[in-house]
Amino acid sequence: MTDLPLLQIRALDAYYGDFQALFGVSLDVRAGEVLAVIGANGAGKSTLLKSIAGLMRRPRGTILFDHAPIGDLPADQVVARGIALVPEGRRLFSSLSVEENLLVGGQLGRPGPWTLAQVYELFPAIAERRHAPSTALSGGEQQMVAIGRALMSNPRLLLCDELSLGLAPIIVRGIYARLPRIVAEGTALVIVEQDLVQAMNSAQRVVCLQEGHIALEGAAGELTRERIMAAYLGA
């Protein structure tokens, strides 16, 4: 049983109204692995994460998490199963303090390694600002809170949407340097990333989306830059 994938997606279609954003996407995420999803703007990367997290209305296809179908569950029940999403643009609760943001993340009370103390240990920078309004933080600190908030639900699968968005490269490297700690606690990661180098360095496997289709899939070490660029650009 243990070598079955944690997440199995088969023939997933997703729509925004009449517009189809994903076409028959199939992929697996194994427990404890890091999968990077790359692709150009509008390739369907965020839509894929939203479909897993339960934010898309009635995606077609099969999504199995821990062998149970979750494709029809609303977002609040998906997170209860153990999938957390760090949304694009961080989207902290603006009227809540840093600590309150984290506490809302942990309000389901799922057992696991992540507690306030553990999150503060992972990101000492936000421990100092715990009582500050979340809007008073820098972009990098806000990203740390957004990751911490998602971790507070003790997910088995963490979905990260564009962690590098709008952040200075040195800040991005600092944040990515913390991800192995999260994986070490037993959480699998799916990272959607525009920054190719960052994605290739962090992940074991890479999936490249192109206009809603999987254009390329492989181990991070085996994919050449040329093949990725070809998949990116649809050449």
């Binding site: 997170v79 609760f93 603006s94 809540l96 506490l103 809302v104 309000q107």
Partner: protein
């Protein structure tokens, strides 16, 4: 001394207005829903208390033990079954639906109870008063009402800023989609907010009905007082709402002191004056 009497009367009346306002403000704050039926729900609570007192022979204030949970349950169901379906990017559908509820409550009460004025009889406590100094006495009942208002506001403040459900209210208000990602069922949270709002409505309705005559048609005017107190105090601030209620109550009392016909007009003028000079209200929510 007559003036001092009216001002004290106005302050105590303001507590009641603050209670009308607190429930409105809470609902608007959590889910951007303007509840046009708010005033009629206050009147509905008054009639529920009337039925309790007449059928079971209990004291109006004791009827709160039943009316408050009953109104909270009505609020939860109303939100879960009906109002949640109207919420979206457009503010108009919930406005229209609550307007419809307002009409239904008014006409339903008129069918059941006729258009006659009624009052809850609270007995000796209604006329009891404490003499502060020569010429200035304060009624026990108005004092109870004001204390209840302060307690309600303090309770709401505590719920919002010190409890997990209050955090969920604020998080859902900030971003309902991300709140779902935290495992918050926003439909349930909205229904809890409406339940809390109607629990406050129940307290306000019973205290209103002990204080003054009521009939099925007086709801919309209570809604206006509530709105005015919210705007005067500043949206999103619970203690501001209490201040707004007091400003409105004092303005009405001063108006009535000048000429009994000016009571309502003076309240509306105070509201317009503050809207013109400080459109964000006296105590607007601090924006970071």
């Amino acid at each position: 001394m007559e003036w001092l009497n009216s001002i004290v009367y106005g302050v105590l009346l303001g507590g009641l207005y603050a209670m009308f306002a607190a429930g409105l403000s809470l609902i608007f704050g959590v889910m951007r829903l303007v509840n046009i039926a708010h005033g009629d729900l206050i009147v509905l609570a008054a009639y529920l208390a009337l039925v309790m007192t007449e059928a079971a022979g209990i004291h109006p204030l004791a009827s709160l033990v039943i009316v408050v949970p009953l109104m909270a349950a009505i609020g939860y169901l109303l939100q879960r079954v009906l109002l949640n379906r109207t919420l979206g990017d457009d503010l108009l559908p919930p406005l229209l639906v609550t307007f419809g509820i307002s009409v239904i409550i008014q006409n339903g009460l008129q069918e059941l109870f006729t258009a006659d004025s009624r009052k809850l009889q609270a007995g000796a406590i209604e006329v009891a008063s404490v003499r502060i100094v020569e010429g200035l006495s304060i009624g026990i009942l108005p004092m109870i009402q004001f204390a209840a208002a302060v307690a309600v506001i303090a309770f709401l403040q505590w719920v919002f800023y010190r409890t997990a459900i209050g955090r969920a209210f604020r998080a859902t208000s900030d971003d309902p989609v991300v709140a779902q990602l935290m495992g918050i069922n926003h439909r349930h949270v909205f229904a809890l907010a409406m339940a809390l709002s109607l629990a406050v409505v129940a307290v306000a309705g019973v205290l209103l009905a002990v204080r003054t005559n009521f009939d099925p048609s007086i709801g919309p005017a209570r809604l206006v007082f509530g709105f005015e107190a919210v705007i005067i105090g500043g949206l999103g601030s619970m203690w501001g709402t209490l201040a707004g209620g007091i400003v409105l109550g004092v303005a009405q009392a001063i108006g009535a002191q000048i000429d009994p016909g000016w009571q309502l007009l003076a309240g509306h003028l105070a509201f317009l004056l503050i809207l013109a000079l400080r459109p964000e209200g006296l105590f607007p929510k601090v924006q970071a």
